[in-house]
Amino acid sequence: MDLLADTGFTSDAADPEWDGVAAAETRQEALYLEIEGWEGPLDLLLDLARRQKVDLRKISILELVDQYLTYIEQAGALRLELAADYLVMAAWLAYLKSALLLPKDEQEDPSPEELALRLQLRLQRLGAMREAAARLMGRDRLGRDVFPRGAPEGLRVERRNMWQCSWFDLIRAYGDVKVRSEPVVHMVRERMVMTLDSAIARVSSMLGISLDWMDLRDFLPPARDSWANPQLRRSALASSFVAALELARTGKAEIAQEETFGPLRLKAVRA
Protein backbone atom coordinates (compact mmCIF):
# COMPACT_ATOMS: atom_id res chain seq x y z
CA MET A 1 0.00 0.00 0.00
CA ASP A 2 1.92 2.97 -1.26
CA LEU A 3 -0.95 5.07 -0.10
CA LEU A 4 0.23 4.78 3.43
CA ALA A 5 3.07 7.17 2.97
CA ASP A 6 0.77 9.86 1.59
CA THR A 7 -1.99 9.49 4.06
CA GLY A 8 0.20 9.47 7.13
CA PHE A 9 -0.66 6.05 8.34
CA THR A 10 -1.11 6.23 12.04
CA SER A 11 1.08 3.66 13.59
CA ASP A 12 0.44 4.95 17.05
CA ALA A 13 3.99 5.70 18.02
CA ALA A 14 5.21 7.66 15.08
CA ASP A 15 2.53 9.72 13.45
CA PRO A 16 2.95 13.46 13.25
CA GLU A 17 1.02 15.79 15.47
CA TRP A 18 -2.55 15.54 14.53
CA ASP A 19 -3.96 18.28 12.43
CA GLY A 20 -7.32 16.69 11.79
CA VAL A 21 -8.10 14.17 9.17
CA ALA A 22 -11.56 15.56 8.58
CA ALA A 23 -10.45 19.09 8.04
CA ALA A 24 -7.92 18.12 5.43
CA GLU A 25 -10.32 16.38 3.17
CA THR A 26 -13.51 17.13 1.29
CA ARG A 27 -13.52 15.26 -1.98
CA GLN A 28 -15.17 11.87 -1.99
CA GLU A 29 -12.36 10.39 -4.01
CA ALA A 30 -9.83 11.18 -1.34
CA LEU A 31 -12.12 9.82 1.31
CA TYR A 32 -11.79 6.28 0.05
CA LEU A 33 -8.07 6.42 0.11
CA GLU A 34 -7.95 7.50 3.68
CA ILE A 35 -9.08 4.34 5.30
CA GLU A 36 -5.70 3.95 6.90
CA GLY A 37 -5.77 7.54 8.02
CA TRP A 38 -8.26 6.69 10.74
CA GLU A 39 -7.44 5.05 13.92
CA GLY A 40 -10.05 2.40 13.72
CA PRO A 41 -13.83 2.41 13.13
CA LEU A 42 -14.65 4.62 16.09
CA ASP A 43 -12.29 7.25 14.80
CA LEU A 44 -13.90 7.09 11.38
CA LEU A 45 -17.36 7.26 12.91
CA LEU A 46 -16.41 10.30 14.94
CA ASP A 47 -15.05 11.94 11.85
CA LEU A 48 -18.23 11.21 9.91
CA ALA A 49 -20.32 12.46 12.80
CA ARG A 50 -18.43 15.73 12.84
CA ARG A 51 -19.29 16.20 9.18
CA GLN A 52 -22.91 16.47 10.21
CA LYS A 53 -21.80 19.71 11.79
CA VAL A 54 -24.09 19.36 14.77
CA ASP A 55 -23.47 18.77 18.40
CA LEU A 56 -22.50 15.17 18.97
CA ARG A 57 -25.41 14.92 21.38
CA LYS A 58 -27.81 15.72 18.56
CA ILE A 59 -26.22 13.55 15.98
CA SER A 60 -28.46 11.35 13.89
CA ILE A 61 -27.24 7.85 14.46
CA LEU A 62 -29.26 6.54 11.52
CA GLU A 63 -27.63 9.03 9.22
CA LEU A 64 -24.24 8.20 10.66
CA VAL A 65 -24.78 4.50 10.12
CA ASP A 66 -25.74 5.15 6.50
CA GLN A 67 -22.63 7.21 5.97
CA TYR A 68 -20.41 4.57 7.45
CA LEU A 69 -21.94 1.78 5.43
CA THR A 70 -21.72 3.82 2.27
CA TYR A 71 -18.16 4.59 2.96
CA ILE A 72 -17.23 0.99 3.57
CA GLU A 73 -19.09 -0.02 0.45
CA GLN A 74 -17.25 2.50 -1.69
CA ALA A 75 -13.94 1.60 -0.19
CA GLY A 76 -14.69 -2.03 -0.95
CA ALA A 77 -15.61 -1.11 -4.51
CA LEU A 78 -12.16 0.42 -4.90
CA ARG A 79 -10.85 -2.95 -3.77
CA LEU A 80 -9.05 -1.52 -0.84
CA GLU A 81 -8.16 -4.18 1.61
CA LEU A 82 -10.43 -3.12 4.40
CA ALA A 83 -9.23 -3.97 7.86
CA ALA A 84 -11.44 -6.54 9.50
CA ASP A 85 -12.41 -4.32 12.41
CA TYR A 86 -13.99 -1.84 9.98
CA LEU A 87 -16.03 -4.67 8.56
CA VAL A 88 -17.07 -5.94 11.98
CA MET A 89 -18.29 -2.48 12.81
CA ALA A 90 -20.11 -2.31 9.49
CA ALA A 91 -21.89 -5.55 10.29
CA TRP A 92 -22.87 -4.35 13.72
CA LEU A 93 -24.09 -1.01 12.39
CA ALA A 94 -26.10 -2.77 9.71
CA TYR A 95 -27.75 -4.78 12.45
CA LEU A 96 -28.34 -1.64 14.50
CA LYS A 97 -29.87 0.10 11.52
CA SER A 98 -32.31 -2.69 10.80
CA ALA A 99 -33.24 -2.86 14.48
CA LEU A 100 -33.86 0.86 14.57
CA LEU A 101 -36.18 0.55 11.57
CA LEU A 102 -38.13 -2.37 12.95
CA PRO A 103 -41.47 -1.82 14.67
CA LYS A 104 -41.00 -1.15 18.34
CA ASP A 105 -42.82 -4.19 19.66
CA GLU A 106 -40.42 -6.65 18.05
CA GLN A 107 -37.40 -5.28 19.80
CA GLU A 108 -35.02 -7.11 22.04
CA ASP A 109 -33.30 -5.94 25.13
CA PRO A 110 -31.32 -3.73 25.10
CA SER A 111 -33.36 -1.77 22.69
CA PRO A 112 -31.77 -0.45 19.49
CA GLU A 113 -32.42 3.06 20.81
CA GLU A 114 -30.40 2.19 23.85
CA LEU A 115 -27.59 0.84 21.68
CA ALA A 116 -27.67 3.93 19.50
CA LEU A 117 -27.47 6.06 22.60
CA ARG A 118 -24.47 4.14 23.83
CA LEU A 119 -22.71 4.53 20.51
CA GLN A 120 -23.42 8.20 20.67
CA LEU A 121 -21.96 8.33 24.16
CA ARG A 122 -18.87 6.56 22.94
CA LEU A 123 -18.43 9.12 20.21
CA GLN A 124 -18.95 11.91 22.69
CA ARG A 125 -16.37 10.47 25.02
CA LEU A 126 -13.77 10.12 22.32
CA GLY A 127 -14.65 13.55 20.95
CA ALA A 128 -14.32 15.06 24.41
CA MET A 129 -10.89 13.53 24.95
CA ARG A 130 -9.76 14.65 21.53
CA GLU A 131 -10.77 18.20 22.32
CA ALA A 132 -9.26 17.98 25.77
CA ALA A 133 -5.99 16.84 24.25
CA ALA A 134 -6.00 19.77 21.87
CA ARG A 135 -6.72 22.22 24.68
CA LEU A 136 -4.06 20.65 26.83
CA MET A 137 -1.50 20.96 24.06
CA GLY A 138 -2.53 24.55 23.52
CA ARG A 139 -1.83 25.61 27.10
CA ASP A 140 1.13 27.67 28.16
CA ARG A 141 3.61 24.89 28.40
CA LEU A 142 6.73 24.90 30.48
CA GLY A 143 9.70 24.84 28.18
CA ARG A 144 7.71 26.13 25.23
CA ASP A 145 5.77 29.15 26.38
CA VAL A 146 6.98 29.69 29.88
CA PHE A 147 10.45 28.93 31.10
CA PRO A 148 12.04 27.95 34.35
CA ARG A 149 15.21 29.62 35.47
CA GLY A 150 17.87 28.96 32.86
CA ALA A 151 20.82 28.50 35.16
CA PRO A 152 19.76 27.79 38.71
CA GLU A 153 22.59 27.61 41.21
CA GLY A 154 21.14 24.44 42.64
CA LEU A 155 20.61 23.52 46.25
CA ARG A 156 23.06 21.10 47.70
CA VAL A 157 22.51 19.14 50.82
CA GLU A 158 25.81 17.98 52.13
CA ARG A 159 25.67 15.07 54.46
CA ARG A 160 27.90 15.34 57.46
CA ASN A 161 28.52 12.52 59.83
CA MET A 162 27.93 13.16 63.47
CA TRP A 163 30.02 10.51 65.10
CA GLN A 164 28.81 9.07 68.31
CA CYS A 165 30.66 7.21 70.99
CA SER A 166 29.84 6.92 74.65
CA TRP A 167 32.28 7.33 77.46
CA PHE A 168 31.69 3.75 78.53
CA ASP A 169 32.35 2.42 75.01
CA LEU A 170 35.63 4.32 75.00
CA ILE A 171 36.80 2.98 78.33
CA ARG A 172 35.68 -0.52 77.59
CA ALA A 173 37.49 -0.42 74.25
CA TYR A 174 40.68 0.50 76.06
CA GLY A 175 40.12 -2.34 78.49
CA ASP A 176 39.68 -4.70 75.54
CA VAL A 177 42.88 -3.50 73.95
CA LYS A 178 44.77 -3.99 77.17
CA VAL A 179 43.30 -7.43 77.65
CA ARG A 180 44.13 -8.44 74.14
CA SER A 181 47.59 -6.99 73.90
CA GLU A 182 49.00 -7.83 77.30
CA PRO A 183 49.87 -11.48 76.56
CA VAL A 184 51.54 -10.45 73.36
CA VAL A 185 53.45 -7.47 74.60
CA HIS A 186 54.23 -8.35 78.21
CA MET A 187 54.05 -12.08 78.55
CA VAL A 188 57.76 -12.85 78.50
CA ARG A 189 58.87 -10.02 80.76
CA GLU A 190 56.17 -10.13 83.36
CA ARG A 191 55.57 -13.80 83.67
CA MET A 192 57.64 -15.51 86.34
CA VAL A 193 59.17 -18.76 85.23
CA MET A 194 61.66 -21.23 86.55
CA THR A 195 64.36 -21.48 83.92
CA LEU A 196 65.58 -24.83 82.74
CA ASP A 197 69.10 -24.08 83.97
CA SER A 198 67.97 -23.36 87.49
CA ALA A 199 65.74 -26.44 87.44
CA ILE A 200 68.65 -28.67 86.36
CA ALA A 201 70.87 -27.17 89.06
CA ARG A 202 68.18 -27.65 91.75
CA VAL A 203 67.19 -31.17 90.73
CA SER A 204 70.78 -32.44 90.36
CA SER A 205 71.89 -30.95 93.68
CA MET A 206 68.87 -32.46 95.48
CA LEU A 207 69.48 -35.83 93.82
CA GLY A 208 73.01 -35.71 95.21
CA ILE A 209 71.66 -35.55 98.75
CA SER A 210 68.95 -38.20 98.55
CA LEU A 211 69.58 -41.91 98.02
CA ASP A 212 65.93 -42.98 97.63
CA TRP A 213 63.36 -42.53 94.91
CA MET A 214 61.81 -39.07 95.16
CA ASP A 215 58.59 -37.78 93.64
CA LEU A 216 59.22 -35.14 90.96
CA ARG A 217 56.98 -32.73 92.85
CA ASP A 218 59.26 -32.91 95.83
CA PHE A 219 61.95 -31.23 93.81
CA LEU A 220 59.88 -28.07 93.42
CA PRO A 221 60.72 -25.09 95.63
CA PRO A 222 58.47 -24.83 98.72
CA ALA A 223 55.17 -23.05 97.96
CA ARG A 224 55.99 -19.92 99.86
CA ASP A 225 56.12 -16.26 98.86
CA SER A 226 56.30 -15.86 95.09
CA TRP A 227 56.67 -19.64 94.63
CA ALA A 228 53.08 -19.91 95.77
CA ASN A 229 52.03 -18.42 92.43
CA PRO A 230 50.27 -21.26 90.63
CA GLN A 231 51.65 -20.20 87.31
CA LEU A 232 55.18 -20.22 88.61
CA ARG A 233 54.52 -23.66 90.09
CA ARG A 234 53.37 -24.94 86.74
CA SER A 235 56.51 -23.49 85.20
CA ALA A 236 58.66 -25.05 87.90
CA LEU A 237 56.97 -28.40 87.38
CA ALA A 238 57.51 -28.26 83.64
CA SER A 239 61.13 -27.15 83.99
CA SER A 240 61.85 -29.77 86.61
CA PHE A 241 60.35 -32.43 84.34
CA VAL A 242 62.58 -31.35 81.47
CA ALA A 243 65.53 -31.21 83.90
CA ALA A 244 64.77 -34.79 84.95
CA LEU A 245 64.71 -35.91 81.32
CA GLU A 246 68.00 -34.10 80.70
CA LEU A 247 69.65 -35.73 83.74
CA ALA A 248 68.37 -39.14 82.64
CA ARG A 249 69.70 -38.56 79.14
CA THR A 250 73.19 -37.75 80.47
CA GLY A 251 73.05 -40.81 82.71
CA LYS A 252 72.93 -38.94 86.01
CA ALA A 253 69.43 -40.01 87.05
CA GLU A 254 66.82 -42.74 86.67
CA ILE A 255 63.14 -42.11 86.09
CA ALA A 256 60.32 -44.43 87.03
CA GLN A 257 56.54 -44.29 86.69
CA GLU A 258 54.31 -47.12 87.96
CA GLU A 259 51.27 -46.33 85.88
CA THR A 260 50.01 -43.84 83.32
CA PHE A 261 49.55 -40.44 85.00
CA GLY A 262 51.02 -41.93 88.12
CA PRO A 263 53.61 -40.09 90.18
CA LEU A 264 56.95 -39.64 88.44
CA ARG A 265 59.88 -40.71 90.63
CA LEU A 266 63.52 -39.87 90.36
CA LYS A 267 66.71 -41.41 91.77
CA ALA A 268 70.38 -40.55 91.31
CA VAL A 269 72.57 -42.96 89.39
CA ARG A 270 75.64 -43.76 91.44
CA ALA A 271 78.64 -43.84 89.26
Binding site: L82, L121, A134
Partner: protein, 221 residues
Protein backbone atom coordinates in the same frame (compact mmCIF):
# COMPACT_ATOMS: atom_id res chain seq x y z
CA UNK B 1 -0.72 41.88 50.21
CA UNK B 2 -1.82 45.39 49.58
CA UNK B 3 -0.04 47.76 47.21
CA UNK B 4 1.83 49.15 50.18
CA UNK B 5 3.96 46.06 50.35
CA UNK B 6 7.15 46.82 52.22
CA UNK B 7 10.01 47.83 49.95
CA UNK B 8 12.26 45.29 51.61
CA UNK B 9 10.87 41.82 52.19
CA UNK B 10 11.47 40.17 55.53
CA UNK B 11 14.18 37.60 56.08
CA UNK B 12 11.97 34.58 55.58
CA UNK B 13 10.49 35.90 52.34
CA UNK B 14 14.00 36.57 51.08
CA UNK B 15 15.13 33.11 52.07
CA UNK B 16 12.19 31.41 50.33
CA UNK B 17 12.74 33.58 47.27
CA UNK B 18 16.44 32.71 47.10
CA UNK B 19 15.80 29.02 47.72
CA UNK B 20 13.22 28.72 44.95
CA UNK B 21 15.37 30.73 42.58
CA UNK B 22 18.33 28.48 43.18
CA UNK B 23 16.43 25.20 43.16
CA UNK B 24 16.85 23.01 40.11
CA UNK B 25 13.47 21.38 40.59
CA UNK B 26 10.12 22.64 41.83
CA UNK B 27 9.83 22.25 45.60
CA UNK B 28 6.95 21.51 47.91
CA UNK B 29 6.30 23.87 50.78
CA UNK B 30 7.47 21.09 53.08
CA UNK B 31 10.77 20.72 51.25
CA UNK B 32 11.35 24.47 51.40
CA UNK B 33 10.50 24.44 55.06
CA UNK B 34 12.92 21.59 55.72
CA UNK B 35 15.59 23.38 53.79
CA UNK B 36 15.07 26.50 55.88
CA UNK B 37 15.14 24.81 59.24
CA UNK B 38 11.43 24.02 59.60
CA UNK B 39 10.24 27.58 59.09
CA UNK B 40 6.57 28.02 58.27
CA UNK B 41 6.80 29.18 54.66
CA UNK B 42 3.21 29.34 53.39
CA UNK B 43 2.81 32.99 54.26
CA UNK B 44 6.08 33.81 52.56
CA UNK B 45 5.04 31.85 49.45
CA UNK B 46 1.77 33.77 49.28
CA UNK B 47 3.55 37.08 49.69
CA UNK B 48 6.07 36.20 46.98
CA UNK B 49 3.33 35.09 44.64
CA UNK B 50 1.62 38.44 45.09
CA UNK B 51 4.86 40.32 44.70
CA UNK B 52 5.67 38.71 41.36
CA UNK B 53 2.20 39.18 39.94
CA UNK B 54 2.55 41.41 36.91
CA UNK B 55 6.31 41.05 36.74
CA UNK B 56 8.26 39.28 33.99
CA UNK B 57 8.51 36.16 36.09
CA UNK B 58 5.99 34.66 38.44
CA UNK B 59 5.74 32.16 41.23
CA UNK B 60 3.40 29.25 40.54
CA UNK B 61 2.20 26.17 42.37
CA UNK B 62 1.96 22.97 40.34
CA UNK B 63 0.81 19.82 42.02
CA UNK B 64 1.91 21.15 45.44
CA UNK B 65 5.31 22.02 44.01
CA UNK B 66 6.37 25.64 43.68
CA UNK B 67 8.63 27.20 41.10
CA UNK B 68 9.37 30.45 39.34
CA UNK B 69 8.73 30.68 35.63
CA UNK B 70 8.52 33.39 33.02
CA UNK B 71 5.20 35.13 32.51
CA UNK B 72 3.16 33.39 29.79
CA UNK B 73 2.45 36.60 27.87
CA UNK B 74 6.17 36.89 27.16
CA UNK B 75 6.27 33.56 25.39
CA UNK B 76 6.79 35.20 22.01
CA UNK B 77 10.01 36.83 23.25
CA UNK B 78 11.52 33.71 24.68
CA UNK B 79 10.33 30.98 22.40
CA UNK B 80 12.72 31.66 19.59
CA UNK B 81 15.73 30.82 21.67
CA UNK B 82 14.49 27.56 22.94
CA UNK B 83 14.38 24.45 20.91
CA UNK B 84 10.95 23.19 20.11
CA UNK B 85 9.56 20.52 22.31
CA UNK B 86 9.43 17.10 20.89
CA UNK B 87 6.13 16.84 19.09
CA UNK B 88 3.75 14.29 20.41
CA UNK B 89 1.85 12.02 18.09
CA UNK B 90 -1.88 12.42 17.96
CA UNK B 91 -2.25 9.07 19.66
CA UNK B 92 0.10 10.15 22.42
CA UNK B 93 -1.77 13.40 23.04
CA UNK B 94 -5.05 11.53 23.25
CA UNK B 95 -3.68 8.93 25.58
CA UNK B 96 -2.19 11.67 27.75
CA UNK B 97 -5.55 13.45 27.91
CA UNK B 98 -7.33 10.22 28.79
CA UNK B 99 -4.86 9.44 31.56
CA UNK B 100 -5.19 12.96 32.94
CA UNK B 101 -8.99 13.14 32.85
CA UNK B 102 -9.63 9.57 33.95
CA UNK B 103 -6.71 8.72 36.17
CA UNK B 104 -5.94 6.17 37.29
CA UNK B 105 -6.72 4.17 34.15
CA UNK B 106 -5.64 0.85 32.79
CA UNK B 107 -4.47 0.41 29.27
CA UNK B 108 -7.64 -1.50 28.44
CA UNK B 109 -9.70 1.47 29.59
CA UNK B 110 -7.68 3.80 27.43
CA UNK B 111 -8.20 1.51 24.49
CA UNK B 112 -11.88 1.27 25.20
CA UNK B 113 -12.25 5.04 25.03
CA UNK B 114 -10.13 5.38 21.92
CA UNK B 115 -11.68 2.36 20.21
CA UNK B 116 -8.28 1.13 19.07
CA UNK B 117 -5.40 -0.72 20.51
CA UNK B 118 -2.72 1.45 21.93
CA UNK B 119 0.84 0.56 21.17
CA UNK B 120 2.99 0.01 24.22
CA UNK B 121 5.35 2.61 22.81
CA UNK B 122 2.78 5.36 23.21
CA UNK B 123 2.64 5.00 26.97
CA UNK B 124 6.40 4.60 27.02
CA UNK B 125 6.81 7.94 25.26
CA UNK B 126 4.61 9.59 27.88
CA UNK B 127 6.47 7.95 30.70
CA UNK B 128 9.79 8.92 29.19
CA UNK B 129 8.59 12.50 29.00
CA UNK B 130 7.95 12.21 32.72
CA UNK B 131 4.25 13.00 32.45
CA UNK B 132 2.75 9.58 33.11
CA UNK B 133 3.71 6.99 35.67
CA UNK B 134 2.62 3.53 36.67
CA UNK B 135 0.33 3.97 39.66
CA UNK B 136 0.05 0.38 40.79
CA UNK B 137 -2.41 -2.26 39.77
CA UNK B 138 -6.16 -2.38 39.89
CA UNK B 139 -7.36 -5.00 42.31
CA UNK B 140 -9.60 -6.81 39.85
CA UNK B 141 -9.03 -10.09 38.06
CA UNK B 142 -5.87 -9.87 35.98
CA UNK B 143 -4.59 -7.05 38.22
CA UNK B 144 -4.03 -4.66 35.31
CA UNK B 145 -1.39 -1.96 35.62
CA UNK B 146 -2.94 1.48 36.04
CA UNK B 147 -1.49 4.79 34.97
CA UNK B 148 -1.65 8.30 36.38
CA UNK B 149 -0.05 11.67 35.73
CA UNK B 150 2.99 13.07 37.52
CA UNK B 151 3.78 16.44 39.13
CA UNK B 152 5.88 17.12 36.04
CA UNK B 153 2.76 16.82 33.95
CA UNK B 154 1.06 19.52 36.02
CA UNK B 155 4.17 21.69 35.87
CA UNK B 156 4.52 21.32 32.14
CA UNK B 157 0.94 22.16 31.37
CA UNK B 158 0.68 24.88 33.97
CA UNK B 159 -1.91 23.22 36.17
CA UNK B 160 -2.12 23.66 39.89
CA UNK B 161 -3.91 20.34 40.13
CA UNK B 162 -5.97 18.04 37.95
CA UNK B 163 -9.03 20.03 39.01
CA UNK B 164 -7.77 22.76 36.72
CA UNK B 165 -7.88 20.54 33.64
CA UNK B 166 -9.85 22.46 31.04
CA UNK B 167 -13.54 21.58 31.09
CA UNK B 168 -13.15 18.71 33.51
CA UNK B 169 -16.19 19.68 35.58
CA UNK B 170 -18.45 19.88 32.54
CA UNK B 171 -17.19 16.57 31.21
CA UNK B 172 -17.80 14.94 34.54
CA UNK B 173 -21.26 16.43 34.81
CA UNK B 174 -22.07 15.14 31.33
CA UNK B 175 -21.03 11.65 32.42
CA UNK B 176 -18.27 11.54 29.85
CA UNK B 177 -15.65 10.60 32.42
CA UNK B 178 -17.58 7.67 33.86
CA UNK B 179 -16.04 4.24 33.55
CA UNK B 180 -16.87 2.55 30.30
CA UNK B 181 -19.02 -0.51 30.67
CA UNK B 182 -20.40 -1.41 27.35
CA UNK B 183 -19.63 -4.90 26.27
CA UNK B 184 -21.89 -4.84 23.29
CA UNK B 185 -20.24 -1.97 21.50
CA UNK B 186 -16.92 -3.13 22.78
CA UNK B 187 -17.41 -6.33 20.85
CA UNK B 188 -18.49 -4.43 17.76
CA UNK B 189 -15.39 -2.27 17.98
CA UNK B 190 -13.25 -5.33 17.58
CA UNK B 191 -11.66 -4.95 20.96
CA UNK B 192 -13.69 -8.03 21.67
CA UNK B 193 -12.79 -9.32 25.11
CA UNK B 194 -13.40 -6.25 27.22
CA UNK B 195 -12.39 -8.24 30.25
CA UNK B 196 -9.03 -8.82 28.70
CA UNK B 197 -7.25 -6.23 30.77
CA UNK B 198 -4.23 -8.36 31.42
CA UNK B 199 -0.64 -7.43 30.86
CA UNK B 200 0.26 -4.63 28.55
CA UNK B 201 2.84 -6.49 26.69
CA UNK B 202 0.59 -9.05 25.22
CA UNK B 203 -1.08 -8.11 22.06
CA UNK B 204 -4.75 -7.97 22.60
CA UNK B 205 -6.76 -10.22 20.42
CA UNK B 206 -6.06 -9.47 16.85
CA UNK B 207 -9.46 -8.41 15.71
CA UNK B 208 -11.24 -10.14 12.94
CA UNK B 209 -8.84 -12.91 12.36
CA UNK B 210 -11.42 -15.61 12.66
CA UNK B 211 -14.20 -13.46 11.45
CA UNK B 212 -14.18 -14.29 7.80
CA UNK B 213 -17.83 -15.03 7.89
CA UNK B 214 -18.60 -11.70 9.42
CA UNK B 215 -16.23 -9.92 7.13
CA UNK B 216 -17.89 -11.17 4.02
CA UNK B 217 -21.27 -10.30 5.41
CA UNK B 218 -19.95 -6.81 6.01
CA UNK B 219 -18.72 -6.55 2.47
CA UNK B 220 -22.05 -7.52 1.08
CA UNK B 221 -23.86 -5.14 3.39
Amino acid sequence: MTPDEPATPDALVRAVEATLFAAEEPMTAEAISTHLGQAEVRGALAELQRHYEGRGIRLVERGRHWHFETAPDLAHLLRREKEELRRLSRAATEVLAIVAYHEPVSRAEIESIRGVQTAKGTLDVLMEAGWVRVAGRREVPGRPVIYATTPDFLAHFGLKSLKELPGIDELRAAGLLDPVDDDMIEAALGGGESADEGEDDETLTEPGQNNDGVASSGESA
